[in-house]
Amino acid sequence: MNTGIDEMSHQSHETAHDDHHDHKPSGFLNRWLYTTNHKDIGTLYLVFSLLMFFIGGCMAMVIRAELFMPGLQLVEPEFFNQMTTMHALIMVFGAVMPAWVGFANWMIPLMIGAPDMALPRMNNWSFWILPFAFTMLLSTLFMDSGGPASGWTLYPPLSLQGGQSFAFVVFAIHMMGISSIMGSINVIATILNMRAPGMTLLKMPLFVWTWLITAYLLIAVMPVLAGAVTMLLTDHFFGTSFFNAAGGGDPVMFQHIFWFFGHPEVYIMVLPAFGVVSEIIPTFSRKPLFGYTAMVYATASIAFLSFIVWAHHMFTVGMPLTGELFFMYSTMLIAIPTGVKVFNWVSTMWKGSMTFETPMLFAIGFIVLFTIGGFSGLMLAMAAADLQYHDTYFVVAHFHYVLVPGSVFALMAGAYYWLPKWSGRMYSEKWGKIHFWLSVISVNILFFPQHYLGLAGMPRRIPDYSTQFADFNMISSVGGFIFGASQLIFVGVIVHCVYKSRQAASGRVWEGAKGLEWTLSSPPPYHSFNTPPVIDRTTVAHAQELD
């Protein structure tokens, strides 16, 4: 269409013209502390989350070092429990979730043709709360009563045995929750109100869809977590007995409330991963995403179902049989839309024209290894068998498979995929591939033996174990050390790409890439889309209606 192309070149000319005018704020504080720009805020989230990955990772190294051999060699049991608790809190709330928010900030406006997020000042606050929250959380490790040591699930009465530092844990969680809620409000307001004309909902990239749905999940469940930890706080310090049986309360009620948050939470961590994989596979298969509409419906179904499965985390707590059966069936059901997504990804690859750059390698790794995590999840859903699996390393293996070679691999895939767009430079493909291969091999050495440990009878959250568990623990620890070290390569690749790489990236970057973000320069101008872009076949990857 002539008009379309003319408009596009006119618009890109406009953007280039604007480039001379819109300069980034001068001064470090002005640029980073006061920023309302979605790209800079995205960068802040991503850098923050990378730092938190290494902090949480160090805690994992302490854990794997202590578990390297039977016997206690390095830390006291109390400190070990602080490590397991903090490792999870940091990874879940400080690494994975902020990383996905960082991707949302960077990519959503670019993908829908919006100039920025809907509420740019609130966006700034959403980020800057986090460093304070996590400083507070980490500082509890240095307080007299020590950091939280009751597991990230904070079950009472055990969590109520913590000392004064527990108040800071609760406040930190409140702050993180407020940050997430504000961020999600921003995402929804942006997606619903600021799409470029012609960008209907069913033309949006799948990554935007998955974030739209994730944002609703966040708003629904973060307040629930806030309620739960507030009740812990008042039980601990203000004499209430929500969860204290002696006062008429019920410790199990906490578990219900917590997991009502907790289960959707794990889907919050994984839905954006589904979105990223759905962007990457089509690009490197040079074929459109198979079954776009089905993928949208499948994501929505997963989100809906995630609200009615929570008690599968509580099969041993003494629930009535009917309850256990209901939650078993609903949990089994979630396998259906998840399977549909996997089949659609494979169908996207099928009869494509594939190349295997680093983003594609991580995306394929995700599909295989997340699916394995899904299988152990299906096994866990079988309540009668779960009476043996629960609270063992089988569970630890399951959730690490879906989170590490699951969500984290998707984060890395997305980072490699969009880094050239963000920085304007190509990363070292050789080192990217080395990072991938080291990671994928070591992550399996780290987590696969943990399935066996759980089946053989090793419980979770223990600093020392009986000698029959020694071999697989040692193997797992070695995998852990290699995996941790390999992530330094990731940092090296990023730093080299941003500061040293001499290979410029084109606008399109990847041959098969389709979508609005690739119509901008690399890096995009500080203010992209001052005028709305034109939406047509050349700028939209997912347009089943256009076919």
């Binding site: 009465p157 410790p251 776009y292 009476l387």
Partner: protein, 306 residues
């Protein structure tokens, strides 16, 4: 197919056949110990094990099918082999098929899943009751009908070896971290009801050979049951984080023939009577009235140095 592709596919098929061979013939021999869930010694453990194996096999088959499709595609449909991308974008029929088939598989799985759970959870008429109380960090067992009770704590040898930099090699300790001073003793082939609770925080009582675990929640009583079909010694651990020594409060269950059990009960009753007599003396010596203020478990706690 080009020669290179044929080779890769042939190698993959060979690997798959070898893996299938191993899985079918060798792996099922791995029960218990290092790799697989134990078959156990009760009806419940057998049900749990079978459900576990059925689900595992179904997952393996689905995984092999899906990953083979992916692998074949990765080998054949690549740009470097000059494969040109097809243009199809969707297929409603495919979506329906690969939704319906998994639903059918799940419905089929739900049948043994349901019967297993019902059989495991619904208690039959039981012949005796043991009340289990979790403490930080030991278990108390009370035999309701026979009137005996005692504390079961980590065996002193393990307790010494597990200290930070104790200098003692764990492999030198027999049943390291899985041994106690006073094991629970039960008669074989007897339906036993358990009443499980806790005194301070949530614990969980778990003996893998029995096939289940149950949370011990303070202020609430959870019911469970078992019937152990084979005499022997079975070991388990606390399975809910309960504080610093969560990893150091194991469970040992000695299942003996009914006659031997009755002998043991008589022995325990005698021991308790002696302790009561000793307590009365101690109370009198301390100048207390004879009352319930000094409990056997206090003596036990004092005795173990905690």
């Amino acid at each position: 197919m080009k020669k290179q592709n044929t080779f890769i596919v042939a190698a993959a098929v060979t690997a798959a056949v070898i893996a299938a061979f191993w899985l079918l013939l060798v792996a099922p021999g791995y029960t218990g110990n290092e790799i697989n869930m134990p078959r156990g010694v009760t009806l419940q453990s057998e049900l749990s094990y079978q459900l576990h194996m059925i689900t595992l096999w179904i997952c393996v088959v689905i995984g092999v099918i899906v990953f083979s499709a992916m692998f074949i595609s990765i080998v054949l449909h690549r740009k470097s082999k000059d494969h040109e991308a097809a243009r199809f974008t969707h297929s409603t029929r495919a979506e329906i098929v690969w939704t319906i088939i998994p639903v059918i598989i799940l419905v089929v799985m739900a049948v043994p899943a349901t019967t297993a759970l019902v059989n495991m959870e619904v208690a039959p008429e039981t012949e005796m009751t043991v009340k289990i109380t979790g403490f930080q960090w030991r278990w108390k067992y009370e035999y309701i009908e026979d009137g005996i009770e005692f504390i079961s704590s980590l065996h002193s040898e393990s307790n010494a070896a597990r200290r930070l930099i104790s200098g003692i090699d764990p492999s030198a300790v027999e049943n390291y971290l899985l041994d106690v001073d006073n094991p629970m003793v039960l008669p074989a082939n007897t339906k036993v009801k358990f009443l499980i609770t806790a005194d301070d925080v949530i614990h969980a009582w778990w003996v893998p050979a029995l096939g289940w675990k149950r949370d011990a929640v303070p202020g609430f009583i959870n019911e469970a049951w078992t019937e152990v079909l084979e005499p022997g010694t079975y070991r388990g651990q606390c399975a809910e984080l309960c504080g610093k020594d969560h990893g150091f409060m194991p469970i040992v269950l000695k299942v003996v023939p009914k006659e031997e059990y009755r002998d043991w009960v008589r022995q325990q009753q005698r021991k308790m009577a002696q302790e009561q007599a000793g307590l009365t003396d101690t109370r009198k010596a301390l100048g207390h009235e004879t009352g319930d203020d000094v409990q056997p478990q206090t003596l036990a706690r004092v005795g173990s140095g905690k």
